[in-house]
């Protein structure tokens, strides 16, 4: 069985970000990068299936500039078999502004000649929070999609999943090949040792350029995006908070309630 994991490298959620001078993207320079947390669940699940079964191959596909090789090394150290890196850094201008649509278009194209029985993706990327790449791929590759999966079992050519829904869970099934998206709760991702990550440097990565896979780069990135970033700005800063003093917790509570009622008008 061939499992594909879709992985994205995103700014670490605890790291501050800077806006580039062009205003339409982040300044890449000093960002600390990490694997999208939901993609870690996807990677782990693929590896669990591999470890429990016979003849399972796990291939990670990622789209991004040169720096993505760091994330690929981590995926290799976790235990994936192959990595395909589509490098979309053909030109500084275009890369930063790719959207879910252009990214999915690239991945769908690569999937045309990459065997896949099951595709696992994170349910969203925590950088642009678009929630759209898996849905676009499902449509373009004509695959069933099961979102927000917290448990899966494969029997023969069918996958049965538990998924998070409003107010609870649903159990659904679909025929393979299919695409599922990972939710928190699916598993506990393993963290590879530093040595394993260093060793992974030697692993071969299937590097592809956009024109090699049959795209005119001019139709992707900012030019091909359906949702185009015009400008980025920082949200207005909150004024410094008021420290509520009092000689006892009860006094502080009374003062807070008074302020919430009379100053903030929220209760």
């Amino acid at each position: 069985m061939n499992i594909i994991v879709l992985m994205k490298q995103v700014p670490d959620t605890e790291a501050p970000v800077e806006i580039a001078a062009s205003k339409d993207r982040l300044d890449d320079e000093d960002i600390k990068w990490a694997i999208n947390p939901y993609d870690e669940f996807a990677l782990e699940e693929a590896l669990l299936i591999k470890e429990a079964g016979d003849d399972v191959t796990v291939t990670v596909i990622t789209v991004g500039p040169d720096r993505v090789s760091e994330a690929i090394r981590v995926a290799y150290a976790m235990g994936v078999d192959n990595a395909i890196h589509i490098n979309d850094e053909y030109d500084d201008e275009a890369y930063g502004a790719a959207d879910a649509y252009t990214t999915a278009k690239i991945i769908a194209k690569v999937l045309e000649d990459t065997p896949h029985d099951l595709i696992i993706a994170g349910n969203r990327a925590v950088d642009d929070d678009n929630y759209q790449v898996p849905a676009f791929i499902a449509k373009q590759c004509n695959l069933p999609m099961i979102a927000l999966v917290t448990k899966q079992t494969i029997e023969g050519s069918e996958i049965t999943c538990e998924q998070s829904i409003d107010g609870g869970t649903a159990v659904v099934k679909a025929s393979l090949p299919a695409i599922i998206t990972a939710n928190k709760g699916l598993n506990e991702p393993r963290y590879p040792a530093f040595r394993a990550i260093m060793k992974a440097k030697k692993k071969k990565v299937d590097e592809r350029e956009l024109d090699e896979i049959g795209f005119d780069p001019e139709t992707l990135g900012a030019a091909g995006a359906k949702v185009k970033i015009r400008s980025l700005e920082f949200p207005p800063e909150r004024a410094e908070g008021k420290r509520i003093e009092g000689s006892s917790p009860a006094e502080k509570a009374a003062e807070l309630v008074k302020l919430l009622r009379e100053e903030a008008n929220v209760i």
Partner: protein, 319 residues
């Protein structure tokens, strides 16, 4: 003439979700500015009694898609029906609520129609009859202004950001023929618990707990949330420690909330948590560590033992 504005609504627990009314109110404003008409789409088993109330929120046309197969949200069936309606009606703008359902449905419909979709928007403007949206990115660290390409501009809105305003709409009720279409995911079982309590993202008041709660006993927070008529949230730490379900998690890898009042109790204030609540109207932080980062994000700060302060707030509110 400008094309219509369409809102895809959502019924939950036998009533419209508040976000659907927020979307309608904003849709009315956009339709007025465009000089076009506002259409609401209502899906479900039997929805007429609910559907007709939407005229009060400015809907000119209310399209009802009724079928037993639409009783609860099924992604394929809903996608087929909504894509069909959009194909027939050819609206210029389609807006969803960014709920669990709205996120998946909007993504599937956008993919089907090859339309641009701006997710979880917090503001809209019109420029030459085209929708321009603002939305948060990078876990709330940055606000983006985005253009949406194509004949159909799709967007979803973040809960609790747009105001609900009543407006008179023509309220013409129409039933549409329902074809559930091709379905490639089969439902085996659904376990849904309808709670009378507000869903976290729609709650006006949220009381959240973190590592400072010291155990899974969140009763002091629950009591305060009950008095306020709100919901209880949790930090990633509290969820990872198994004290609260994942559905309660507020933050960049959980839910993004914008209540009127957010009370953070025993939460350190990691960036990924603040990302999930920084658009709250008023933020209160209670923590016994005077240097906790959470105080930088708060409007009102209390340095003290939450197990004493929180019950005192509850008592004060009951007075």
């Amino acid at each position: 003439m400008a094309k219509d504005v369409m809102i895809v609504t959502e019924i939950w627990n036998d009533a419209f979700r508040k976000i659907s009314l927020e979307a309608l109110s904003e849709g009315r404003r956009l339709a007025d500015e465009l000089g076009s008409s506002l259409t609401a789409v209502v899906l479900g088993d039997a929805v007429e009694a609910h559907a007709k109330t939407l005229a009060e929120y400015g809907a000119d046309t209310i399209l009802m898609a009724q079928d037993p197969g639409l009783k609860t949200f099924r992604p394929c069936e809903y996608e087929n029906v909504v894509a069909g309606i959009i194909g027939d009606q050819a609206p210029g703008i389609v807006i969803f609520g960014a709920t669990r359902q709205g996120r998946e449905l909007s993504a599937c419909v956008a993919a089907r129609l090859n339309a641009g979709l701006a997710v979880e928007c917090t503001g809209f403007a019109l420029e030459e009859e085209r929708l321009v949206a603002t939305r948060f990115m990078y876990g709330g660290k940055v606000i983006a202004t985005v253009d949406i390409d194509g004949d159909i501009q799709m967007a979803s809105i973040r809960p609790n950001v747009f105001e609900v305003t009543k407006a008179d709409g023509a309220g013409k009720l129409e039933s549409v023929a329902v074809d559930l279409g091709e379905v490639n995911v089969t439902l085996i079982e659904e376990k849904i618990e309808m709670s009378a309590k507000a869903e976290l993202t729609e709650a006006d008041y949220i009381v959240s707990g973190g590592r400072g709660m010291e155990s899974d006993d969140f009763s002091v927070l629950e009591e305060l949330a009950d008095v306020l008529g709100g919901a209880v949230g949790a930090s990633r730490n509290a969820v990872d420690l198994g004290w609260r379900p994942q559905s309660d998690q507020v933050g960049q890898t959980g839910k993004v909330v914008s209540p009127k009042l957010y009370i953070a109790c025993g939460i350190s204030g990691a960036m990924q948590h603040v990302a999930g609540m920084s658009t709250s109207n008023v933020i209160v932080a209670i923590n016994n560590d005077p240097d906790a980062l959470i105080f930088r994000a708060a409007d009102y700060c209390i340095v003290d033992d939450l197990f004493e302060v929180v019950p005192a707030i509850t008592a004060e509110l009951k007075k």
